[in-house]
Amino acid sequence: MKVVADIPSYVKCRHTCEASLSASRCFKFRQLLKEVSEEELFASGHRACSGCACALAIRLALKAAGKNVIVTQPTGCMEVVSSPYPETAWRVPWIHVAFENSAAVASGVEAALKALGKKDRVKVLAFGGDGGTVDIGFQALSGALERGHDFVYICYDNEAYMNTGIQRSGSTPYGAATTTSPPGKESFGNRTFKKDMPRIAAAHGIPYVATASVAFPLDYMEKVKKALSIEGPAYIHVHASCTPGWGIREEKSIEVLRLAVDSGMWILYEIEHGKTRVTYKPAVKRPVEEYLRLQKRFKHLTEEHIAVLQRYVDERWKEVFSEE
């Protein structure tokens, strides 16, 4: 149990028991917890901020993937914090090339493994932040998904360019304050809604797409495992907080991420061979305002803007659940 002790006790089971039941009482939860690898392939001592959910997203993904994997990574926080020469946090083979090409590099790795007859033994895992995925890396990702490479792409989404100091990306939510979408006399923050990247990925007709949250580690790790086991491209979009970017205290990361899911700001689902399944249904849907009020990036929002967001969330909720 030592290794996974950081999974908070309020993480609830999504299997047989109700969401309100405590995790420790659920047999399935305990069983899954036992299956989590104790091996740390993303070593401690890296330079990420405390409370960084992106570092957790990588750590948990590697626990699910195991050792026989090659990882590609774009330029960004996770690259910077994990690989300052001559140190490395990576206990698996890892390559960083540039900002916009993690998926293209992964294509090359996968093709090389095929050509060298090693593909059966080694999996390919590409990471990208939201900027490196939905904006600058969009073309490379779309190409790699369309070509059908056997790899898993994980977008850890902290909803802005955090590495360069919190600038808005195509994944920044409505109303959020960033350094390039600041609220002011003529502005309420970011004017646009989040780009719906998971469903854009699904539109490529790939066999597996999932959303996940670092606050639901077992659900996330199961999805990573499933994605790796499926032949062909798979895409996972994991919601991961940035403490300075969101304006939250480090110990609040998981709580805030959890509220994102419980309020419907982030919905956990998977699309397997075109069929959508919601993997976690909050027993009680919390008002979006509860999620917003915990974060400085939304503190300037008026009732009116919050109402807009609530309507948006309600519509999205209906939309996703109706697809199930």
Binding site: Y85, V97, N101, S107, G108, A112, V122, Q139
Partner: protein, 388 residues
């Protein structure tokens, strides 16, 4: 046995002979026939390579980097805008010391958009850390691709190599080419077995962050590798000559022995110039084959007897008001204490034909300079003054 081959097909045959594992390429005129021939070879099972039809040149080079880092022998080809689009990743391929081989079908850069031949594209990448070889013939294109893998994969070098061939002039033109046997190529080119690669058996971190206390040393090592590449290019070419009976050197001297005027060029233009200088007693030609690393000693030696050097090149270094190669030749002369007068002749931009009369005009300007007459330091050959 000699076959009549387009330059593109000669390159594709070289790729097959080198038993390349991964090809990642995006089509662009005039490189397209190269990737088409390779695609057909893969489709016919003649070449057992993984061929990734990427969605851009940026991804082509990125995929090559991923494949090469995983231990695969890797090839791509591009041209012009495609090379410019790759610019960012060219530096990363060389900085990560990955022995990727690329053929660039030389083509003008936009704007105005133009698909025809000049060398502005690859000349613009001169500082990107790639070895650059410019070929004159289709035979040399084939041979240089084979040599390129030996140079790139040499443990003392480990740098990517760009083989530059004039678009259309070579890529779409047939010439007799001697295609070597697989046995001979195998004898010359051992399998690619990199010491460092992405492998779960021995996890490596590649592409790490180089902070100020490390960055300069990485660059210095790269610069040293470029220095070693110069001698390895020569060694590899000599060995190639022993096995295949053809070698090219880092530059070719043509009628330079008693030449007062020497013309210097790169690429296929050398063919036209050779025809012209045949009619002159005192005019020779230096065809530079290796542009990066610049074989400075060899250039100085080839030019030491000449009083005027005319550099004919298909590029313009905007802001210098002369060709980029010309500036480099001046540098070589300065460093070697040569008082040779160096004149720039900008020609053939965007596919403008360089005719024998243009070369004769360059010779005339050089001869006037040799007599002590004042001449313009840069002359645009074949320019339609009337429409300016």
């Amino acid at each position: 046995m000699k076959e009549m081959l387009h330059g593109s097909k000669a390159v594709a045959k070289a790729v097959k002979l080198c038993d390349v594992d991964v090809v990642a390429a995006y089509p662009i005129t005039p490189q397209t026939p190269i990737v088409e021939y390779i695609a057909q070879m893969v489709a016919d099972g003649e070449l057992g390579a993984e061929y990734i039809m990427v969605e851009s040149e940026h991804s082509a080079m990125s995929a090559c980097i991923g494949a090469s880092a995983t231990g695969a022998r890797t090839f791509t080809a591009t041209s012009s805008q495609g090379l410019a689009y790759m610019h960012e990743v060219l530096w990363i391929a060389s900085g990560m010391r990955l022995p990727i081989v690329m053929v660039n079908a030389n083509r003008a850069l936009s704007a105005p958009i133009n698909i025809w031949n000049d060398q502005s594209d690859s000349i613009s990448e001169r500082d990107s850390g790639w070895v650059q070889i410019y070929v004159e013939t289709n035979q040399e294109a084939l041979d240089s691709v084979i040599q390129a893998y030996r140079i790139a994969e040499d443990k003392e070098v480990l740098l990517p190599v760009m083989v530059c061939m004039d678009g259309f002039v070579l890529t779409h033109t047939m010439e007799p080419v001697d295609v070597p046997s697989q046995e001979k190529v195998n004898e010359f080119l051992p399998p690619f077995e990199p010491e460092v690669k992405l492998d779960p058996e021995q996890p490596m971190t590649m592409g790490a962050l180089g902070e100020p206390q490390w960055y300069m040393e990485f660059r210095k090592q790269q610069d040293e590798a470029m220095g070693r590449a110069l001698s390895r290019v020569k060694d590899v070419d000599e060995e190639f000559g022993r096995i295949f009976g053809r070698s090219y050197g880092v530059l070719e001297e043509y009628n330079t022995a008693n030449a007062e005027v020497v013309l210097l060029t790169i690429g296929s233009l050398a063919g036209t110039i050779k025809d012209v200088v045949d009619s002159y007693e005192d005019v020779g030609l230096v065809r530079l084959r290796l542009f990066r690393p610049l074989p400075e000693e060899d250039i100085a030696k080839a030019l030491e007897g000449a009083s005027v050097v005319g550099v004919l090149e298909k590029d313009i270094a905007l802001g210098l008001r002369e060709g980029a190669l010309c500036t480099e030749v001046k540098k070589v002369c300065y460093d070697h204490g040569l008082s040779t007068k160096v004149l720039s002749f900008v020609c053939g931009l965007g596919g403008r034909d360089v005719r024998m009369e243009d070369v004769e005009k360059a010779i005339e300007v050089c001869r006037r300079a040799a007599k002590g007459e004042k001449v313009s330091r840069t002359t645009w050959l074949g320019l339609r003054e009337a429409v300016l």
